[in-house]
């Protein structure tokens, strides 16, 4: 068991080195001309007020531009609550009967 834990830690550290070498080649953090800030975010920043009428852009994206996403996200939460209630209530009924 001890050898297994040691092996896991060694493999994890090797993986960490690999990921760090990859991460170091990302564009520098916090610069305004990174490739992340492309035309998509420019459109959201410039047009959000005209097209949705709200000042908070994150809410505009979550509830207007990507409203389908939020709809299925609420369904995910609903399914989680359903699964929890089913998992716990079925066992109770079995113990009673």
């Amino acid at each position: 068991m001890r050898i297994r834990k040691l092996l896991i830690i060694i493999v994890a550290l090797l993986a960490a080195y690999g990921i760090l070498v990859a991460v170091a080649e990302l564009p520098p953090y916090g610069m305004a001309d990174n490739p992340v800030h492309n035309h998509v975010s420019e459109r959201y920043i410039n047009k959000a007020l005209d097209e949705t009428g709200v000042t908070n852009m994150v809410t505009a994206i979550v509830l207007d531009y990507r409203a389908y996403d939020t709809m299925f996200e609420t369904i995910v939460l609903f399914t989680a609550a359903l699964a929890v209630v089913i998992t716990l209530k079925v066992s109770k009924r079995k113990e009673k009967g």
Binding site: V54, T59, A67
Partner: protein
């Protein structure tokens, strides 16, 4: 839990927590925050009530039957608000194309569909959190 100080403090704090949660839900489109955070805060206020006063009194105050109804119709509310767009001849879940009044930016009534959807999502997140706590907090089944 039968502590005197906890009960008195809870009486003072609980209404403020609920009001703050509804404030975060209603102001989600003009300030930081949003329906998810507000819904979780409203749910946590009821969780505090049923932690301090016992789960039985919490269930008397907010029965599981009402929670189930709110949860189901909160999910349905989202779909109904989307179908309004189809009835007006626009795509599903469309806001400006469906003719909602966008209002003056920065005011509480701005955003049209967005604030309506936010209220629905917030209330159903709150009921989901309370349902999860009721299901997990039961002492002995």
């Amino acid at each position: 839990m039968r502590d005197f100080i906890l009960k008195r403090v809870a009486v003072i704090i609980l209404p403020l927590m609920s009001i703050y949660g509804f404030y975060v839900i209603l102001h989600g489109h003009v300030s930081p925050g949003g329906s998810f955070a507000g819904g979780i805060i409203v749910g946590l206020s009821f969780i505090t009530y049923s932690t301090v006063y016992g789960l039985e009194r919490g269930k008397v105050k907010l029965p599981e039957r009402i929670l189930t109804l709110v949860e189901s119709y909160g999910t349905l509310w989202y779909g109904i608000m989307g179908i309004v767009g189809i009835l007006k001849g626009a795509p599903f879940l469309s806001n400006k194309l469906a003719g909602f009044n966008l209002g003056e930016p920065g005011s509480l009534t701005s955003g049209g569909l967005i604030s309506l959807l936010g209220i629905g999502v917030g209330i159903r997140v709150a009921s989901t959190i309370i349902t999860l706590f009721y299901a997990m907090g039961e002492e002995e089944s």
